[in-house]
Amino acid sequence: MEIKTERQNGTLIAKVEGRVDSANAREFENALSSAISDDDTYVIADFEGLSYISSSGLRVILLIAKTLRSRNAKFALCSLSGPIGEVFKISGFDKIISIYGSQAEALAG
């Protein structure tokens, strides 16, 4: 698992690559939390390079979503593969987190 970040006009784009499972979820949580700064008003987690995620990764996404909501920052996910999109749907996360088909759509939203 690796996270690459870039910023565009106050928006943080965090590209998550590889696998997030129970063995590295803590590492994922630390990496994503520390990539986000208090000034970011919009955070996009780009999952184009993410090949696998389990409930341990969903837990981290929900924690981040809660933290950002508590300070009125926006949060979105984009470019989920078919099975990863399914995992978010089954968990009901598609109803509480904005999910876009592409990074461009997320930036426009």
């Binding site: 696998r19 499972d21 129970s22 063995a23 696998y52 389990s54 409930s55 341990s56 969903l58 837990r59 929900l62 924690l63 979503a65 809660k66 909501r69 508590s70 078919g82 099975p83 990863i84 995992v87 089954i90 968990s91 009901g92 109803k95 509480i96 987190i97």
Partner: protein, 140 residues
């Protein structure tokens, strides 16, 4: 045509790497669609992590046995462990899937994912072991 494969893992989280490698190898050998490899990996990770974390109170010296039987239209997975009794069909609450972000509890989604992804499940407790049989249709 059916093929059976038996795998054994210790009750440790660092066995997950070996588990996912074994599932990938099996999927490749039997020509599973990539989505099926993902789903089986997800289901087994969630169940194995539950057994490791809750079944033995963190004791790493137990064994989990996983048997795969592959047929043309379905995959049958049998999971056997000697941890405390746990029936994934009844013993895990249905998670809250409707609240707003602020009220959504952290965790509790693993077994829900398993129950949703798997097509049929049978649980029995026998000889102080949990026996979980799961059937996943190959057509998704």
């Amino acid at each position: 045509m059916s093929a059976k494969r038996l795998l054994r893992f210790a009750t440790r989280l660092d066995e997950l790497a070996r588990l996912s490698a074994a599932i990938e190898e099996l999927g490749e050998a039997e020509d599973w669609p990539l989505d099926l490899v993902f789903q089986i990996n997800l289901v087994l990770e969630e169940l194995v992590v539950n057994i490791v974390n809750h079944g033995h109170g963190g004791d790493p010296n137990h064994e989990i046995e996983i048997a795969f039987t592959s047929e043309a239209d379905a995959l049958t997975i049998e999971l056997i462990d000697d941890g405390r009794a746990f029936n994934p069909l009844d013993d895990a609450p249905t998670p809250d899937l409707d609240s707003e972000i602020e009220d959504r509890p952290i965790g509790g989604l693993g077994v829900h994912l398993v129950r949703t992804v798997i097509d049929a499940m049978i649980y029995k407790r026998e000889n102080d072991k949990n026996h979980l049989t799961m059937i996943k249709r190959r057509d998704g």
